[in-house]
């Protein structure tokens, strides 16, 4: 038995080392004196200062944050509707198509979705004279692919609860709307929160779809990072990576702590 525990521990140690060693090195080299990210030349904060004064990067980060906030919110509303329908409305005309459409963006290759949405915006620009490519088109694209994830989280959560609570409320005379607000919504609130967070992260991280629909003026953070990284390694990107990892770790630890507290 102890032999098997040893094997399991080795497997996990190897797996986690594979996942975290590259990230750890990126973080370490964000404090490197040298411009070369492969040669250690002593501790320095100069790349941190450089990044915090990098206007283009900060503008891009601000644009990405605004898009992520707006698109995650709309994706959560639409995903809530879609997930609710999938879990609670077993029959209506077009349900198979509806279910297919809700899941499809999750498995659609991003380059395909990117080119298709760009063609839509080009078409609407010719026929309707807009929308101009930028904030709005990026947000629409992000809502479209992230609402899928919210819908799946909501549907799974609703499937875990049986309908009897909602039916009891309605038998006692509550209208469907009151039932939804006082029974269903509190039940699925955690799923909505994690769905929103997922949509927010997906939006903040998206490169390919964004690159297609962004137009000439708008540059999101991943687009900036990509164009900088294509030219080779850059210590400022290491700094940015360190910040991103710190935020993600902080958010994950906080949410785990909150869940544990509730239990």
């Amino acid at each position: 038995m102890s032999g098997r525990v040893g094997v399991a521990a080795t497997v996990l140690a190897f797996g986690y080392a594979f996942l975290y060693l590259p990230i750890a090195l990126v973080i370490a080299y964000s404090f490197n004196e040298s411009r070369l990210v492969t040669v250690w030349a002593g501790f320095s904060l100069k790349w941190w200062k450089a990044l915090l004064q990098n206007e283009a990067m900060l503008d891009a980060a601000w644009l990405s944050l605004r898009i992520a906030l707006v698109s995650a919110t709309f994706a959560t509303l639409l995903g809530l509707a879609a997930g609710y329908v999938l879990a609670r409305v077993p029959r209506f005309r077009g349900r198979t198509l509806f279910a297919g459409l809700v899941v499809a963006p999750m498995v659609m290759p991003e380059v395909v979705m990117g080119i298709s949405m760009l063609l839509l915006f080009v078409g609407s620009d010719r026929l309707l004279g807009g929308p101009e490519r930028g904030f709005l088109t990026i947000t629409i694209a992000h809502v479209t692919f992230s609402l899928t994830f919210v819908a799946i989280v909501v549907q799974a959560r609703l499937a875990d609860f049986d309908r009897s609570l909602e039916e009891a409320a309605m038998d006692l005379g509550a209208t469907p709307w009151t039932t939804f607000l006082t029974v269903t919504l509190p039940m699925i609130a955690p799923a909505l929160a994690s769905g929103w967070l997922l949509a927010f992260t997906l939006s903040l991280d998206d490169l390919i779809l964004t690159q297609f629909v962004a137009g000439a003026q708008s540059q999101t953070l991943p687009m900036r990072v990509y164009s900088s990284v294509r030219l080779g390694v850059d210590p400022q990107i290491n700094v940015l990576a360190t910040i991103v990892v710190a935020i993600a770790a902080g958010a994950l630890v906080t949410s785990a702590w909150l869940t544990r507290k509730r239990d």
């Binding site: 399991a8 990230i23 999938l86 609670r88 991003e110 080119i115």
Partner: protein
């Protein structure tokens, strides 16, 4: 109960709840796919804006299936995706298994550690390997320093780097569905098998493996489907000699401005993946129905 549901579906507000996401996905997902097909049938006309002349012309599709370059790109995309998926499964299965068999109070932390990289930026995780794998990168410094290899060669820019990048980036997508399947497994079945004289390997092959099959299928599809159309990984880690179809689409669109050809690539990619995508959807639906 179902009569109430039908009643619900016909009620005015519920119609709106159904219609909103339906309309959104119809306009912003389904309609665009139709446009891609329309443009794929057009011809490239570099002088007009946008650079397309509408019509019904299969030239773009014909080019995709006759030109050696494109055929090679399709084949290498499939090969790279398939091999990477297999390697990810071989690495992810033992991890998921070890987590599922760990003490229950440790599992949330172990799972969180698998999830954390997913919550950080995809681009940055790929970037991390650029510094590791380059000619004077950290890996080669370690290899030279250890004295084992005098001239290790460079991994960055080869197909090996692409495999490594895909396995690294998609490992969490493999581990999570595998864990979900293994966590539900009734371990007393394994004890029963061994009581009845089955060796551990036999018990694994006849009990554990079949019961975790839904997780294996889901995990493999979640890795394979995006890997076939991958763009960032071959672009940043792979060299110029490795062609992948996602990169071809990107280059035809952005570099050559050949919209019909890029659209034809997109349509072919969809047709190629429609089998795996439908399989994934059916499985997703089935597992949710089992829960409710």
């Amino acid at each position: 109960m179902s009569s109430r549901s039908v009643f619900l579906a016909r009620s005015q507000p519920m119609r709106l709840v159904i219609a909103l996401p339906f309309l959104w996905l119809g306009v912003f997902f389904l309609l665009p796919l139709g446009l891609v097909l329309g443009i794929a049938l057009g011809t490239n006309s570099p002088d007009s804006v946008p650079p397309v002349e509408l019509g019904v012309d299969l030239a773009s599709f014909r080019l995709l299936f006759t030109d050696d370059l494109y055929l090679a790109a399709w084949l290498s995309s499939l090969r790279i995706a398939a091999i990477s998926t297999a390697v990810t499964l071989l690495l992810g299965y033992p991890m998921a298994y070890a987590i599922a068999r760990a003490a229950p109070r440790r599992r949330p932390l172990l799972l969180m550690l698998v999830m954390l990289p997913f919550w950080t930026s995809f681009l940055i995780r790929i970037y991390a390997w650029m510094g590791l794998l380059s000619e004077n990168g950290i890996l080669n410094q370690v290899l030279r320093g250890s004295g084992l290899v005098a001239d290790p060669g460079t991994i960055l820019g080869t197909e090996w780097a692409i495999y490594l990048g895909i396995v690294y980036a998609y490992l969490p997508f493999m581990v999570l569905p595998l864990y979900a399947a293994l966590e539900k497994l009734d371990w007393s079945l394994l004890e029963a098998a061994s009581d009845l004289g089955a060796r551990p390997s036999t018990a694994f092959l006849t009990v554990t493996l079949p019961l975790s099959l839904p997780g294996i299928v889901a995990g493999c599809l979640l890795v394979f489907i995006p890997a076939v159309g991958e763009f960032v990984i071959p672009d940043l880690l792979g060299g110029t000699q490795t062609l992948m179809i996602g990169k071809v689409l990107w280059d035809e669109f952005f570099t050559n401005s050949d919209w019909p050809l890029a659209s034809a690539v997109a349509i072919c990619l969809l047709v190629l993946l429609v089998g795996p995508i439908l399989l994934f959807q059916r499985q997703q639906q089935r597992s949710l129905e089992r829960r409710s």
